[in-house]
């Protein structure tokens, strides 16, 4: 077992434990903290994959901005422990079945079909940040410009939604 494999299993276990903890925790703030653990573990996996820029963006945007927004809203709304009715507890069993079936099917299908991917030559050291910036500002420049429009619309939408109506 190589060092990379050990690091992978540690980070993968951390991510899965965080995701399970998100489900098991009763209070939304604990779920939010569990999700942060998942995101940091995924950032570590991105580093292991050689995607340094994506790892940094994952920490800054997901772990920083988005999760702070979540925690902020949880505190703002003073969210309490979630309550389950008997019907919603019954939804757990078929939900679990569905989720296991879905994950198993996806994993089995993709694991079978990645044999060709495995055989492909791995370039290993690619200058990822330089390459990404080249792709964003050359090949994907129109989608990139469209994302700024998307963010503008999102900011306007959030402002209009959250403002108090004038009486």
């Amino acid at each position: 077992m190589t060092a990379a494999l050990v690091v992978f299993f540690v980070l993968a276990a951390l991510a899965v434990i965080g995701a399970v903890s998100l489900i098991l925790q009763k209070h939304p703030i604990h779920s939010a903290l569990s999700l942060i653990v998942v995101m940091v573990a995924l950032a570590g996996l991105y580093l292991l994959l050689g995607a340094e820029f994506v790892a940094a963006v994952q920490i800054i945007v997901y772990g920083g901005a988005i999760m702070v927004l979540f925690v902020f809203v949880i505190m703002l709304l003073n969210a309490g422990v979630e309550e389950h009715t008997s019907i919603s507890k019954m939804a757990g069993a078929p939900g679990l079945l569905l989720a296991v079936a879905l994950a198993g099917f996806v994993a089995a299908t993709i694991a079978k079909s990645t044999e060709s991917v495995q055989a492909a030559p791995q370039t290993g050291e690619i200058a990822s940040t330089l390459g990404i910036s080249n792709m964003i500002f050359k090949d994907f420049v129109y989608p990139f410009e469209l994302t700024s429009f998307l963010i503008l619309v999102a900011v306007l939408g959030a402002t209009v939604l959250a403002q108090r109506e004038k009486s």
Binding site: I23, L49, I110, T147
Partner: protein, 100 residues
């Protein structure tokens, strides 16, 4: 070198946990967080395939997914604040305006 299959299977497991959380949880904020978990699972598959194929397209897609997730979080949390203000609850079972 970690095989690509491992990453993809981990991605599928995380996605399945996200689906289960989406169905099982009753707090609207937690449901929203499970959507983020599913998006993260897909991002992991994107980066894993990007590395396996030696192309950077997957990593660029991840950046776009993160941008969309950020905008979605901003708008979605605005909607959550509206729901909490109008109905004084975060439980999705009590948000039943359209139920007969």
């Amino acid at each position: 070198m970690v095989p690509t299959n491992y990453y993809v299977i981990l991605s599928a497991i995380l996605f399945g946990l996200g689906v289960f959380a989406f169905i099982f949880k009753r707090n609207i904020i937690t449901i929203f967080m499970s959507i983020e978990l599913m998006l993260n699972a897909v991002n992991l598959a994107f980066v894993a395939f990007s590395q396996a194929l030696g192309k950077l397209d997957g990593q660029v897609f991840v950046l776009f997914v993160i941008v969309v997730a950020a905008s979605e979080a901003a708008v979605g949390l605005g909607i959550i604040i509206l729901i909490a203000r109008n109905r004084q609850t975060l439980n999705v079972e009590r948000v039943d305006l359209l139920k007969l």
